[in-house]
Symmetry: C3
Subunit: 156 residues, 3 copies
């Protein structure tokens, strides 16, 4: 467990429009508005794309992601963490539950999903923290890394 202390910054209320691709459109918005670290919530519709629904084998390293397609419009509720990747650009790690007809598929939206009619997003900016996504060799993941600036702690 590693952690970093900061405080709340700006709050953006965003409407995604039909066809807007998540997480790319939110990452671009964050970059254009100078939001480096943040928290995102998503409420709306999703109609296309693929979802990472876990690793094929839980113990394998690096894990091989399982991808499932989204067929038909789904109701979505999602939560994500925004932090800069190694090139300094904000990268959004967002997981969501996608429901249709009483079934639910949950997973990571990192390969892109398309907004169906509307997506309501709130983006909270978090200031005063020094975190980045750093590639982990064993897992291949870009792991969130609380940094060494004042106000940050390691190995809580």
């Amino acid at each position: 467990m590693k952690a970093c202390e900061g405080h709340m910054g700006r709050v953006f209320v965003i409407r995604l429009e039909d066809g807007d691709v998540i997480p790319g459109c939110i990452e671009r918005f964050a970059e254009e508005n100078g939001v480096s670290v943040g928290h995102v919530i998503l409420v709306g519709g999703i109609r296309d794309g693929e979802v990472v629904v876990g690793p094929r084998r839980s113990e394998e390293r690096p894990p091989q992601p399982m991808l499932l397609p989204i067929d038909g419009a789904h109701e979505v509720v999602g939560v994500g963490v925004l932090a800069p990747s190694e090139d300094g650009k904000p990268l959004l790690h967002i997981h969501a539950a996608l429901g249709r007809s009483g079934q639910t598929m949950s997973g990571c939206l990192r390969f892109g999903v398309a907004t169906w009619i509307v997506g309501e997003v709130i983006l909270y900016e978090i200031l005063g923290v020094d975190v980045a996504r750093v590639r982990d060799e064993q897992s291949g993941f870009l792991l969130l890394e609380p940094g060494a600036k004042p106000g940050c702690r390691f190995d809580c």
Copy 2:
């Protein structure tokens, strides 16, 4: 994509009691306390009501909602966006995943669901934004519309 910038206001910690109907009881609380725009999270139990589990046909306009009943007490995790509708009253668009016995139904709670024993809600007030829900003729939805006041941007 349309967006609006604001900042954090008050934070309300709320306990819903058995039978309290969501989203109505949260909307009334917001109105009574002068919360116009906000973000809601919901953690608790749900025992009754209906959930919108997607449109029957994804391409049809306006889409016809599919409704499924909630049978038995479900564990709920939900996230919503509060914004004033055309009459100025706060309207909560809340999506949730509802689990029971290892199955999950996800969707929109707009037709009302009843609290089972307890619902824990946090309501964040967002200040300085000019957003409203405006009826969209094609979809029939009340779409979140970031407005034209200073601090708001269109078509990001």
Copy 3:
């Protein structure tokens, strides 16, 4: 419905590491950092433990929880409310949707689940509220109880 008004405090960005047990590790972090009341979001992987997937019989008091095991690594999206229990220690009530292979199990993580590779957590501190978890005799639950301090209201 009972409620209490407060305001935003510190924001912690936390990375859980493989094997970290939720909610215990977050509760300990909160206690060590003097966070009494808060809101938690969780995005990441879960590989072990048990989930409460509802009461066996919805009308029985106290309800008997149904528990299901987590088999294999799951994608998780979770939301929780932190408040002090009767001994003054912060207790996290967190619900989550756990997805694997297109299926989703949703429920309460109170009996403990283990992080798979990484869990990204944001912990928001909420200040100025007087809430506690108080045992309810009928349900056996530790119900969130907004208190009587100034700024708090009962029976909204």
